[in-house]
Symmetry: C2
Subunit: 409 residues, 2 copies
């Protein structure tokens, strides 16, 4: 008897018809002779509605109270889904995060899972129940309700699967799996059958709207096989597995698995900084202190004892960054500061790069042939990213997708 | 430093403006040098909305899951109210029922409070917080979330006040207090300044839309003074206290404190039952087994070895009762069964009856003078109730209110 964790996102439980559809899917899996744990997000727009209610009260909500508020969304989903399953004649019990034994740290609104005690879930499974667990939430030592941040329900599912040694973790959403790039941008984007954790991590990190990074990390660390698939079809989706499982053969076949992009970028440059040691450290430690995530950094070669430093941050951090950078420019003696909102990042990702030389140069070549100027470059073992002018983004994504033959899988 | 429990109903926290208004009221009480525990219901129509969502899923929801669902309403209120108080510069912490230490039995959707451990509330109060507690909910031994049934937030407030030895329990709503009768029926209905627990119990039991019976019982048992007042005015409302506090003087002044009525009644009669012992026991034990509450009962004098038995139940139980009564009639040999939906109950309530003879006869006299036929009568130490034709109800209430001089307080 296999143990399967099935996770359904908010759009899959947005209304009562969809809720019943999910109940049917879950029951079918149970009838297949499996033990089933279901993890659900808040229904549809519930979380946004709750945030609106909060904003009507205060612009600066206390994080503990925010978690208390937001946790109600998943609690609605679990009770309604349990009722739906029961109304179809099957045993089901709903559990909030803390009832499911999920303990977190104190970092409200983005807590980390510290420990899971699945005793209660196992007991309920042994009694023949489908166990419906609230995603996205847990409880800290003080007994406060906490939430796990964006994509937290994915994390709940994967962490439960890891702790309970589940045979499979299925992540259901309204898309059919992981694609070679965004099908809204490239018409012949293809669904990927098999992808490694590492590639998924790079894709998530480079702007693809896929699973939350932390949940992929947990899956990788515990070797949990993930099947990302659609709630509204029975087609196979994408299996996310270890590189070993994918095997050398496939890796050698394919240089690149996906093209990803991120439009949510803004580039700052400090021009003509004095070329003295410790300049970069000063700048980036000041910015890090504000909790701002810097993505790419380049420092130009020193000319006349002067340096330029450029870096990108996400657009939501633009205002905070601007203030700090202006301050730093004065302090450090930069001549001027520029801020460019019209940039985007395009990346190619693939474990095949490990065995194929020349992925980066091929990428630069494709961009050059299309007269797309590269402003910044960063690379990892299995990813190459370029910052370009955002007007060129669609073209870049399409040409790279074609150039790396992702349309011919 | 006094400890005050303030309870706000759903209409008082229906939107963000009202929520802020409540926050201001709470803060004003805190500034008066008091320790404050606030109990809140779910905002406005939230509970009804949740029930609608549930009904879309199933007509027969599992009570445990129903409680899991409904408890989210109060959880929204507490977090939003805590945020509102914080945004005005005061310390506040929200607690769900179980976080506040409220333990209940297993009777989902109408659980009884078994124990309250207010340790956490006291700790938070000692740190200078206004503590905002979710009404209507608790947790059973198994760790499931339970709810306390209709009016459960009143119970939470009074039970907390009792357990914590609060100096006062204020119940805020959208009315100014307890009235001598429903102001929508009698224009010169008067607000009552002081009323005894016993009178309140009889009023609640005879159809007045006042506080929940169980919460009045708890207040009485623990001697908790209740101030029922309006959220939207600073006027004094009605104090609910012990008979001793009201004093003999006032009791002797006033025969009757209030006229109440209940339109939600239906009368069943079993006609020509054989006059053998145990007939009534058989009928009412069968009905009790269905969980139906029988209100008034009369049995006519035996003529020709035949008996009539009539009784009233609430309209919501009409269908279930009809089936059972038809069955019983056959079984026991009744000639026929009648069911009358056009009945209503009118009652006069007052501790003054203890010292004034003739309240019942005065009531019958007033009804007779107005040509209102009495179908059934029941009395308690401080209440007289009559079942009459529902077309006469408004007239009866107005004439009794005038006849007992309640308009001349």
């Amino acid at each position: 008897m296999a143990l399967i964790v099935m996770k359904f996102g908010g759009s899959s439980v947005a209304d009562s018809d969809k809720m019943k559809h999910v109940a049917n899917k879950v029951i079918a899996r149970k009838k297949g002779g499996n033990k089933i744990v279901v993890v659900v997000s808040a229904p549809g727009d519930t979380t946004d509605d709750l945030i609106t209610r909060c904003e009507e009260i205060t612009a600066d909500p206390n994080p503990r109270e925010m978690d208390m508020l937001l946790a109600t969304g998943e609690q609605m989903s679990i009770s309604l889904l349990a009722m739906a399953i029961q109304s179809m004649g099957h045993k089901a019990v709903s559990l909030t995060g803390f009832q499911a034994g999920i303990s977190t740290d104190d970092d409200y609104t983005r807590a980390r899972v510290k420990k899971i005690n699945p005793k209660k879930i196992f007991e309920l499974l042994d009694k023949g129940n489908i166990v419906v667990v609230a995603g996205f939430q847990g409880m800290n030592k003080a007994g406060d309700i906490t939430t796990l941040g964006r994509g937290g329900s994915d994390l709940t599912a994967v962490a439960l699967a890891a702790q309970m040694k589940a045979n499979l973790c299925e992540i259901y959403s309204d898309v059919e799996g992981i694609f070679t790039t965004d099908p809204r941008v490239v018409k012949d984007a293809k669904k990927i059958d098999l992808i490694s954790y590492e590639e998924m991590l790079e894709m998530a990190g480079s702007g693809a709207q896929v699973m939350q990074t932390r949940s992929i990390e947990v899956a990788k660390n515990y070797g949990i096989e993930i099947h990302a698939r659609s709630t509204f079809s029975d087609k196979e989706g994408t299996y996310i597995v270890s590189e070993e499982k994918i095997g050398r053969k496939k890796m050698e076949d394919l240089m690149v698995s996906a093209v990803t992009f991120d439009k949510n970028q803004v580039k700052f440059s400090l021009i003509d900084l004095p070329d003295v040691p410790g300049m970069a450290a000063k700048i980036f430690s000041s910015i890090a202190k504000l909790g701002i995530n810097v993505d790419m950094i380049i420092q130009s070669a020193a000319l006349d004892k002067k340096n330029d430093i450029s870096f990108t941050v996400s657009k939501s951090d633009m205002k905070k960054t601007q203030q700090k950078v202006d301050e730093l420019a004065k302090q450090l003696g930069a001549q001027t500061v520029t801020c460019d909102e019209h940039v985007a990042k395009v990346s190619v990702v693939g474990v095949g790069m490990k065995t194929h030389a020349g992925v980066a140069s091929k990428m630069f070549d494709i961009l050059a042939k299309n007269k797309i100027n590269i402003e910044m470059i960063s690379t990892s073992e299995i990813k190459v990213s370029c910052v370009i002018d955002s007007v060129d983004l669609n073209k870049a994504v399409n040409e790279l997708h074609k150039g790396f033959k992702l349309n011919k899988k």
